[in-house]
C-alpha cells in the first residue's frame, strides 16, 4: 500500500515530463534493439552452421578418408568390413540446380549411425521419413523447403520430403541416389567410423592402406571462419548498447535530481528510504520491461532487414550458408529483455544508491545535476590514463584474440574517459585567450556545461570512432582484397575438367588456342598439425610477374621451379613463426627451404607451393583437373563459349576471371551495406543522446542565461551562441575521434585479424569518408541543438524574470 502510493507519486513525475519519459524509453529501446538485433543475426547464423554440420553428425564421429583427397572405391568399404572395421559409407559432392550449387550427401541407411538415421527419420516439419521407402528404390530426398524449390525443375528425382531440419543448400539421400546425382558410380567420399569397434580389427595400415583417420572436429570449419565476423558484429552491438546506456543513465540521473524535492517531502511524510528505493526499483523495472519489449521487437525488424545482406556476405566470403529469413526464437526474446533489465540496472545503479543514502534534509532544490566536482573529473582522467597504459601493455606483451579485444575495449573506454578532462583544458585555454567579455563568458559557460554534456559527447566519440575504425577496416580489406585478386587471379579463365580423360583432351585442345595453360593441382595434407593444401605451380611468367609475394629471397622463382625451395602462405608463416630461409618439413625426408611468403586472403588454412614436378613426383595420383588459361582478356568470352560448346562444361567448371572479381566486389558492397547500416544507427543514437542532454540542460541553464539576458543580450543572440557552442563541441569531439578511430582500425587490422584469420592487412586511409562523416556528425549535432536553441530564442521573458524572484 505504502509502496503503491510512493510509486504513484514517483510516476506522476513522468506525466508532467512526457518528453523525459520518451527519451528514457527510446534510449533503452534503441540500445536493446541494436544489441538484440545483432544477437539475432548471430544466433540465426550459428543455427545455420550447426544445422549444416549436424547433418552428418560431424561433431562426434571420426571418419576414414583417402590420404590424397580423392574418392574411394566401394571395394575399400567391403575390405574394411571384412577386416573387422565397422564403418558406414558417405558419398558427398556438389551438383548444380539452376544457378545454385547444392551439397549432396548420400548415406547408407542400414549402416548409418543411429543418430544420423534418427535425424533422417525425425518428423521435422514434414511427414516422417519412411524407412522402407528410404531403402527401396527410387529412394527419397530430404531437403529444406528452399532447397526443394530449387530442385523442382530437375528431371527424374526421387520423391522429396521437406524438412526444416535440413540447412538450405543441402540435401540428404541414400547413397545410390547420390551416386546418380553426382555421377560417381561406385565411389565413396569417406567412411564414418561407427561407435563400438571390434578390438580384434586389423590395423588401418593393413585394412585400408592409403586411408587416414580424421578425428571428429569439435567445431565446424565454417563456424571457426565466421567467428571473427560475428565477433565484430557483437562488438558493434555492444558499443551501440553502451551508447544507449549513456542516454538512460543521463535521463535517470536527471529525473533523480528533479525529484529531490519530492523525495524530501515523501520522506518527511514518513516514507522510509527502503520504501522509496523499492518504489523506484519497481518503477525502473516497469520501464525496462516496456522498453525491452519495444527494443526486442525493433531488434527483430533490424535483424530481419540486415540478415539478407549478412547472409550474402557470409556466403560470398566464406561459403557459409545462412538462411536469409529470421526464425523467431524464444531464448533470444528472453535474452533481449534480460539485457534491457541489466542495462537499466547498470545505468540506474548510481541514482538508486544515492536515493538509498540520501539524507532526508538534503537540499530539496535540484542541484546542478550537471556539475560533477573537479575531483570526479580528476578520477576519470586517472582511470583513462590507467586504461590507456593497460592498452599499451597489452599491445606490447599480450597475444591472442581475447587480448586483442581487451585492447579494443580499453582503448575506447580510456579515450572516452579522457575526453572531458581534455575538453576542459581546451576550453580553459580558450577562456584565457578570449579578448571580449562576451567571448570570455562563452568559453567559461561552455566549460561549466561540460560535465552535463560529457556523457553525450563520450557517446558521440564512441560512435564516431567506431564508425571511422570499422569503415577503415572494411575499406582497407576491400582495397587490399581487390588488388590481391588482380594478382592472384592472374589467369583470364579458370576451367575444371570432369575427369582425367577430359582434362587431357582439354589441355591439348587449348594448347593452340591460348597463350598458356597453367595447371592448378593440389592435394590436401596436414600442415603444422592442421588440414592444409599443397599446390604445384608451373614455371611461368604469370607467376613470376604477378604472384602476391610479401616476402621473398632473391632467385625465388628459379629455386621453386628447380625443386629446391617452397612458397608458403602468410597464415602458415604466422602460425608456425617461420620466415624466408627457414626449413619447412612436409613429410619425413621432404624438407625444403622457404623462399617466399605470399598473401592469401579469404582462406584460413595453411598452404604450401612447390614445383609441379615435385608435386607429381610425391603424389602421382594427384587429380589433374583444374587449369588457369592465359589469353588476351578481350578474347576470353569467345574462348569460354567455345570451350563450353566443345566440352559441355557448366558455369561452375568454367569461370571468367572478371566474373569472380565482380562477384567479390558485390560481396564487399553487401558487407559495406551492413556495416553502414550499423554505423548510421549508432550515430543516430549518439545524436539522440546529444539532443536529450541539450534539452535538459536548456531548462536547468536558465539561471545562467538570465543574467546575461538581463544585461542586454537578446534571446536570439543567446540562442545562436548556444548553437555555436554545440557545434564547437561536436567539432572537438570529431577531432578526437579521428585518431581514436584510426587506432581502432589499426587494432582491428593488425591484431584482431591476425589472431582470427592469420593475416595482416595493410591499412588504407580514406580522408573523403572522414570528411563526409564529420559533416554528418555536425549535421546531427545541429539538428540536436536546434530545438533547444529555438525554444530559448522564443522563451517568455517572464520565465527569465522568474529566475530572479524566488518563485518556482
Amino acid at each position: 500500500m505504502t509502496i503503491r502510493i510512493a510509486l504513484l507519486a514517483l510516476l506522476s513525475h513522468w506525466r508532467k515530463k512526457p518528453g523525459q519519459l520518451l527519451t528514457l524509453i527510446i534510449g533503452l529501446s534503441l540500445a536493446t534493439a541494436l544489441w538484440s538485433g545483432v544477437q539475432a543475426i548471430n544466433a540465426e547464423a550459428r543455427a545455420s552452421y550447426a544445422r549444416a554440420s549436424a547433418i552428418l553428425g560431424e561433431n562426434n564421429l571420426a571418419s576414414l578418408v583417402p590420404v590424397d583427397g580423392s574418392t574411394l572405391p566401394l571395394a575399400t568399404f567391403i575390405r574394411l568390413q571384412k577386416s573387422g572395421w565397422r564403418t558406414s559409407p558417405v558419398l558427398e559432392g556438389r551438383m548444380r540446380a539452376g544457378s545454385r550449387s547444392i551439397r549432396v550427401i548420400g548415406i547408407e541407411p542400414l549402416t548409418a549411425p543411429a543418430g544420423l538415421a534418427g535425424r533422417a527419420m525425425e518428423a521435422g516439419n514434414g511427414p516422417a521419413l519412411n524407412l522402407s521407402a528410404f531403402l527401396t528404390r527410387p529412394g527419397q530426398i530430404r531437403a529444406s523447403q528452399k532447397t526443394a524449390d530449387l530442385l523442382t525443375d530437375l528431371p527424374d528425382l526421387p520423391p522429396m520430403i521437406v524438412s526444416e531440419q535440413m540447412s538450405d543448400g543441402a540435401l540428404l539421400t541414400d547413397i545410390g541416389v547420390a551416386e546418380r546425382l553426382l555421377k560417381k558410380s561406385g565411389r565413396i567420399s569417406r567412411l564414418l567410423v561407427l561407435p563400438g569397434q571390434r578390438v580384434d580389427r586389423l590395423p588401418l595400415s593393413e585394412a585400408g592402406p592409403g586411408l587416414k583417420l580424421v578425428e571428429p572436429q569439435t567445431e565446424s570449419d565454417v563456424s571457426k571462419l565466421t567467428d571473427s565476423f560475428h565477433l565484430n558484429l557483437t562488438a558493434f552491438g555492444l558499443l551501440s548498447f553502451v551508447v544507449g546506456l549513456f542516454i538512460v543513465h543521463g535521463t535517470v540521473g536527471l529525473a533523480f535530481e528533479q525529484r529531490r524535492g519530492m523525495f524530501r517531502t515523501l520522506r518527511t511524510m514518513g516514507l522510509s528510504a527502503r520504501h522509496l528505493t523499492v518504489a523506484m526499483v519497481i518503477e525502473l523495472l516497469g520501464f525496462a520491461l516496456l522498453a525491452g519489449s519495444i527494443g526486442v521487437t525493433l531488434g527483430y525488424v533490424i535483424a530481419a532487414s540486415l540478415l539478407p545482406g549478412v547472409a550474402a556476405t557470409l556466403r560470398g566470403l566464406y561459403g557459409a550458408e545462412v538462411a536469409g529469413a529470421l526464425t523467431f526464437r524464444f531464448e533470444w526474446w528472453a535474452a533481449g529483455l534480460v539485457i534491457a533489465l541489466l542495462g537499466t540496472a547498470i545505468a540506474a545503479a548510481g541514482s538508486l544508491l544515492r536515493l538509498w543514502r540520501l539524507p532526508i534534509l538534503a537540499s530539496a532544490q535540484p542541484r546542478a545535476w550537471a556539475m560533477i566536482s573537479g575531483s570526479a573529473m580528476k578520477l576519470q582522467a586517472i582511470a583513462a590514463l590507467v586504461l590507456l597504459l593497460l592498452m599499451a601493455m597489452l599491445i606490447g606483451f599480450g597475444s591472442g584474440l581475447v587480448v586483442s579485444f581487451a585492447v579494443l575495449g580499453s582503448m575506447l573506454l580510456g579515450a572516452s574517459l579522457a575526453l572531458p578532462g581534455l575538453f576542459s583544458m581546451v576550453l580553459w585555454l580558450g577562456q584565457r585567450m578570449a579578448r571580449t567579455p562576451l567571448a570570455q563568458w562563452f568559453w567559461a559557460d561552455t566549460r561549466q556545461q561540460m560535465p552535463g554534456l560529457s556523457l553525450a559527447l563520450m557517446a558521440l566519440l564512441l560512435a564516431l570512432s567506431a564508425n571511422i575504425g570499422v569503415s577503415t577496416m572494411v575499406g582497407s580489406f576491400r582495397t587490399t582484397f581487390t588488388a590481391w585478386l588482380d594478382q592472384r587471379l592472374a589467369s583470364e579463365i579458370y576451367v575444371t575438367a570432369r575427369d582425367e580423360k577430359q582434362a587431357e583432351r582439354l589441355r591439348a585442345w587449348l594448347e593452340t588456342r591460348s597463350d598458356a595453360v597453367l595447371p592448378i593441382w593440389s592435394v590436401k595434407l596436414d600442415l603444422a598439425g592442421q588440414p592444409g593444401q599443397l599446390f604445384g605451380i608451373a614455371d611461368h611468367a604469370t607467376y613470376r610477374e604477378k604472384w602476391p609475394l610479401i616476402e621473398k629471397q632473391s632467385g625465388v622463382w628459379d629455386d621453386v621451379a628447380g625443386g629446391a625451395a617452397v612458397l608458403v602462405n602468410e597464415q602458415l608463416s604466422i602460425r608456425e613463426q617461420v620466415r624466408t630461409g627457414d626449413l619447412l618439413t612436409l613429410a619425413p625426408g621432404r624438407s625444403l627451404r622457404i623462399a617466399g611468403i605470399y598473401s592469401d586472403y579469404g582462406n584460413p588454412a595453411p598452404q604450401v607451393m612447390v614445383s609441379l614436378a615435385l608435386l607429381t613426383k610425391w603424389y602421382p595420383e594427384v587429380s589433374r583437373l583444374r587449369y588457369g588459361v592465359r589469353i588476351e582478356p578481350a578474347k576470353a568470352p569467345a574462348l569460354i563459349s567455345e570451350i563450353r560448346e566443345e566440352f559441355q562444361l557448366d558455369e561452375r567448371s568454367l569461370v571468367e576471371q572478371a566474373t569472380i572479381k565482380a562477384f567479390s566486389v558485390r560481396v564487399f558492397e553487401q558487407t559495406f551495406a551492413v556495416t553502414d547500416a550499423l554505423n548510421v544507427l549508432t550515430l543516430a543514437i549518439a545524436g539522440f543522446a546529444i539532443f536529450t542532454s541539450l534539452l535538459t540542460l536548456a531548462t536547468m541553464r536558465l539561471p545562467q542565461l538570465a543574467p546575461v539576458w538581463a544585461m542586454g543580450l537578446t534571446r536570439r543572440k543567446i540562442a545562436v551562441m548556444e548553437l555555436l557552442r554545440a557545434l564547437l563541441l561536436a567539432v572537438l569531439t570529431a577531432l578526437v575521434a579521428l585518431p581514436v578511430g584510426l587506432a581502432l582500425a589499426w587494432a582491428l587490422l593488425a591484431l584482431v585479424n591476425v589472431e582470427a584469420f592469420g593475416w595482416r592487412l595493410p591499412m588504407n586511409l580514406f580522408p573523403a569518408d572522414w570528411f563526409r562523416l564529420g559533416l554528418f556528425a555536425l549535421l546531427a549535432t545541429l539538428l540536436a541543438a536546434a530545438i533547444p536553441a529555438w525554444r530559448l530564442s522564443r522563451i517568455a521573458p517572464a520565465e527569465l524574470v522568474k529566475v530572479f524572484t524566488n518563485e518556482r
Binding site: M1, T2, I5, A6, A9, S12, H13, W14, R15, K16, K17, R259, G261, M262, R264, T265, L266, R267, T268, M269, G270, L271, S272, A273, R274, H275, P359, I360, L361, A364, Q365, N806, E807, R808
Partner: protein, 218 residues
C-alpha cells in the same frame, strides 16, 4: 505529554571541527497547545525542529513523542512515526511538483491510511483552494503553495504539527491570513503545534514561547 525533549544536544561536523548548535535543550508540549520557537538566525531553531521531526539524529538527550522515544527507533520506525503522528511544513518546496493541488492535499492522509474526503474538501474550501484543485504547484503563488502545504499536513490529522517559518517567504498581509487559517485549523484538530518564527507579533498569539540563544533555552 505530546512532546517531551530533554537535554538535547547536537553539533555539526565542519571544516573547523565540530560546531555545537544545540547544547542541552529542554522542551515540553501538551496536546492541543501551540508553541512559538524564536531566536536569531543560526540559533538552531530549524535544527531542533528537524530533530523533533525525526529527520535527523541528535547526539545526546532524549526526545519523546506521544510516549515513543525517538532515540530508540530504527529508521523504519521513525518513518512510521512521521507518517502517523507528525506533519511538517517547511518554508518552501513542500509540494510534489508533479501532482496537482488535490492530489497533494490528499497525499499524506492516504499515506497514513486515513483519508477523509469530507475533511479534505472542508480544508480546501477553508483555505480558499477550491477553485484551483486541478492546478499544479508551479501555477500557484507562494502563498497559495503554502496554503496547500498546510492543508496537506492537516488533512492527515497529525498529533503534532511542526512548521518552520511557513510564511517566511510571504508578505505580511498574506502571511497573516495564512497563519490565521493555520492556527484556527490546528485548534480545531486538537493537534500540538511547534512553530518557528521571527515575528514577535506572531509569537505572542501562541500559548507558549521558547527563545533559543547560543544553543540553549533563554
Amino acid at each position: 505529554m505530546l512532546l517531551n525533549a530533554s537535554n538535547v544536544e547536537k553539533s555539526f561536523e565542519t571544516q573547523d571541527g565540530p560546531l555545537p548548535v544545540l547544547r542541552g535543550v529542554d522542551l515540553q508540549l501538551r496536546a492541543g497547545r501551540k508553541m512559538a520557537l524564536t531566536g536569531e538566525s543560526g540559533s538552531g531553531k530549524s535544527t531542533l525542529l528537524h530533530l523533533i521531526g525525526g529527520l535527523d539524529h541528535f547526539d545526546a538527550g532524549s526526545i519523546e513523542i506521544d510516549g515513543e522515544s525517538l532515540g530508540d527507533l530504527s529508521d523504519q520506525e521513525r518513518a512510521q512515526l512521521r507518517r502517523d503522528k507528525i506533519g511538517v511544513v517547511f518554508q518552501q518546496f513542500n509540494l510534489i511538483p508533479s501532482l496537482n493541488v488535490i492530489d497533494n492535499l490528499r497525499f499524506h492522509a492516504r499515506l497514513a491510511g486515513r483519508e477523509d474526503r469530507v475533511w479534505v474538501d472542508n480544508l480546501a474550501t477553508r483555505l480558499g483552494l477550491a477553485d484551483m484543485l486541478r492546478r499544479y504547484p508551479e501555477q500557484l503563488s507562494g502563498g497559495q503553495q503554502q496554503r496547500v502545504a498546510i492543508g496537506r499536513t492537516l488533512a492527515a490529522r497529525p498529533k503534532l504539527v511542526l512548521a518552520d517559518e511557513p510564511t517566511g517567504n510571504l508578505d505580511e498581509e498574506t502571511s497573516d491570513t495564512v497563519i490565521d487559517l493555520m492556527l484556527q485549523l490546528v485548534e480545531e484538530s486538537g493537534a500540538g503545534l511547534l512553530l518557528v518564527t521571527h515575528s514577535m507579533r506572531l509569537a505572542k498569539r501562541m500559548d507558549e514561547h521558547l527563545h533559543l540563544r547560543a544553543g540553549r533555552v533563554a
